[in-house]
């Protein structure tokens, strides 16, 4: 999409900034809400809604007196850049000029790239810390990411073939007209494969070994502190909400307003939460084996399903 004037660019950047603010606040609020739900299952009261905001602000305003090298400090910056970049190319509200962000043809590729980018940047930063727990956490995290990206990538390929486009906006448009047009219904194998991969993406049990306090504390962020930890916490909220919006767009018909977006993303997130509170965590080799079996098989099935049934 070519913008005609500088004014249009400023408008677009302003709109995106507004979207970024709303999505980040929503991510932080949802984080608190989810923590409270988990607490209820566990028989606790849970954290106050303001707690994630306090955590982020407290850490952001702290300073550090020690140095681990430039790359260590760039890690969280890359991480949050990945989160912002991912959101930048996802249309948040379908049909809204204000909340369409920088969505353009082929944005699906860009989004998937940005999803990797942040995690790879973080891995470089954590590796620079020199802490063995960070290195082990990075190895586990990247191994697991490679595994869950396989069924997710297969599901994405399936819907690209199904809708014949790489534009997220066009994919959402193709799902309008009622729930029976959602990918969840028209291509349920792809949705199933993607949702299984989603369990790995969220970092809840049984796929949270890379951040496991018992098995290795605390994984990649072990040495991160002060403002850098604040950036990571901020990104966790932003990136988490962004992934939910992406899944909502690809598989659940997108959203035409904020209430619809909040309801759908909350329901998608609940899948990971319900599984998370009911299961311990897999070791990384067990997790990888899991993703390479059933989810990958379903992902392959979804492509066959598109080729044999939907586009035949």
């Amino acid at each position: 999409m070519i913008y005609q004037s500088l004014g249009e660019w400023f408008d677009k950047i302003g709109n995106f900034s507004l979207t970024l603010l709303i999505v980040t606040v929503y991510g932080l609020l949802m984080g608190a809400f989810i923590e409270r739900i988990i607490a209820k299952v566990q028989g606790r009261i849970g954290i106050p809604y303001k707690q994630p905001f306090i955590n982020v602000l407290k850490n952001i305003f702290k300073r550090t007196a020690i140095s681990h090298g430039i790359m260590f400090y760039l890690g969280p910056v890359f991480r949050i850049a990945g989160g912002i970049g991912t959101l930048a190319f996802i249309p948040v509200i379908f049909g809204s000029e204000t909340f369409s962000n920088f969505s353009t043809a082929g944005d699906l590729f860009l989004v998937i790239y940005f999803m990797f980018f942040g995690q790879l940047g973080m891995a470089l930063g954590a590796g620079e810390s020199g802490h063995p727990y960070s290195a082990i956490g990075v190895a586990r995290g990247l191994s697991q990411m490679t595994a869950y990206e396989v069924p997710f990538a297969l599901a994405v390929v399936a819907i690209v073939l199904q809708y014949g486009t790489l534009s997220i906006n066009d994919i959402v448009a193709a799902q309008q007209g009622g729930w029976q047009h959602w990918t969840m219904v028209t291509n349920w194998p792809a949705t199933l494969a993607a949702m299984l991969a989603f369990l790995g993406m969220t970092g809840y049990s049984p796929f949270d070994i890379f951040l496991a306090p018992q098995e290795i504390p605390i994984g990649p962020p072990t040495e991160f502190h002060s403002a850098y930890l604040g950036l990571l916490q901020l990104n966790r909220a932003l990136f988490g909400a962004t992934k939910l919006i992406l899944f909502m767009n690809l598989f659940f018909g997108g959203a035409t307003g904020w209430p619809e977006l909040m309801l759908k993303t909350w329901l998608i997130y609940m899948v990971a939460i319900v599984v998370g509170v009911a299961f311990p965590r897999y070791r990384v080799d067990q997790g990888i084996r899991f993703f390479f079996k059933l989810p990958t098989l379903i992902g392959i099935m979804s492509i066959i399903y598109v080729q044999m049934v939907l586009t035949a």
């Binding site: 566990q42 098995e215 290795i216 009911a278 067990q286």
Partner: protein, 394 residues
């Protein structure tokens, strides 16, 4: 593949191989030295593990204690018999009552004191409540070590209900100092029996939920099946006792084999398992938790409601215990707990030696079972052996 221990894979004879592993060249870059503890969520207390890794696999494990800096046994030699009650209970924080009982019992044996029948029952009730509280804490710990945090919240909240009962019964939640030479410090408060039965009912119901969520869980099984297999041949050479031994099918329980207090008047059988891995040990402890609830109910049913709970005692400020020596033992949640005491007829104990099951379980057994494990399983393995480091470093 589950992380079977390298030694157990090679057959029974390897189980008794006490040879030290070959030293590795850390400068080769092929191995990583990693410390787990003393400040680590995957460690059960004041100790640490020095692990040598080849990839994700542990090829060497050395345990390190020495972080407590108390020296309980020496402290006791400088205190009068009654003053030692503030010391003994701290040797095993999650279940101090067994230390109180054994210390009292040793002093009573050397002094020739007979305790009243009601005190016998109150002590039995107290020990079983302690066993229940300790097992509830352990179940939560084992579940947490595998990354499931729902179960610890359930079990620890119910442990708190048991601690409420302790508070009513003894005036304290953790360090009760309730069992003293000559009997116990108090009888049961009014309404205690009903409240105790209510707690037993709710705890039993909760254990059913724990069984469904934790024990019938595919991921729990994937993590714990085949982890830290104790070869039955290791039981005696390594000094393995309690649920760790019973889970291997060895029917040893001091409550049955050498009954003390009122255990010979209670109806129960020794529970044994057949899976010698972490899952088998967890299952064993779940069943023993249920058995403990049953024993508490039996105590409440059968204990006398009236009568003295304390024998006539000399003035504790000038109390001299006759010269002699004795070894007393009891079955705690982790196995045989023993006190060896020597007195010289003075106001002070000459020597006390505390035999806690953690000494063997957390050092020799841990160092053996850790080899061949995945690094991610080390916390689950350590918890599965149920150890309290202060017992090691007395």
């Amino acid at each position: 593949m589950t992380s079977l221990n390298r030694h157990t894979l090679t057959g029974h004879s390897a189980a008794l191989d006490f040879s030290q592993p070959e030293p590795v060249d850390l400068s080769s870059g092929k191995y990583v030295k990693l410390w787990q503890g003393p400040q680590h969520p995957g460690i059960t207390g004041n100790m640490s593990l020095e692990l040598t890794l080849e990839g994700d696999t542990i090829i060497g494990c050395k345990t390190h204690v020495g972080y407590l800096h108390r020296g309980f046994e020496k402290l006791m030699e400088r205190r009068t018999f009654i003053q030692n009650f503030t010391v003994v209970c701290r040797i095993a924080v999650p279940e101090p009552t067994f230390n109180e009982y054994l210390y009292s019992h040793a002093v009573e044996e050397l002094s020739g004191i007979e305790i009243p029948d009601r005190a016998v029952w109150l002590r039995t009730l107290n020990l079983e409540l302690m066993r229940l509280a300790s097992f509830l804490m352990w179940i939560g710990g084992q579940s947490g070590a595998f990354g499931m945090y729902t179960v610890p919240n359930w079990t620890l909240s119910h442990r708190d209900f048991v601690l409420d009962l302790f508070e009513e019964m003894t005036g304290a939640r953790i360090y009760h100092m309730y069992i003293v030479p000559g009997g116990v410090r108090a009888g049961l408060p009014e309404g205690f029996e009903k409240r105790a039965r209510d707690v037993m009912d709710s705890t039993e119901k909760m254990l059913g939920q724990v069984e469904r969520v934790m024990f019938n869980n595919a991921v729990t099984k994937a993590r714990s099946r085949g982890l830290g297999i104790i070869d039955p041949e290791m039981i005696d050479p390594y000094g393995i006792v309690g649920p760790n031994a019973r889970a291997c099918g060895v029917a040893r329980d001091l409550r049955k084999d050498e009954p003390y207090l009122a255990y010979d008047q209670l109806d129960f059988d020794i529970i044994t398992g057949h899976d010698c891995d972490a899952y088998g040990r967890a299952w064993q402890r779940l069943q023993e938790t249920r058995q403990s609830i049953d024993l508490i109910r039996q105590c409440l049913d059968r204990m006398p409601v009236d009568g003295p709970f304390q024998a006539d005692m000399p003035n504790v400020l000038h109390w001299k215990v006759p010269a002699g020596e004795t070894y007393v033992k009891a079955e705690c949640t982790r196995g045989e707990y023993g006190y060896y005491m020597v007195t010289d007829g003075s106001e002070y104990v000459r020597r006390v030696h505390v035999r806690g099951p953690s000494y063997t379980h957390a050092i020799a057994v841990m160092e053996r079972l850790a080899v061949g494990c995945n690094i991610a399983d080390i916390a689950g393995l350590m918890v599965s052996l149920h150890t309290y480091p202060p017992e090691i470093e007395r």
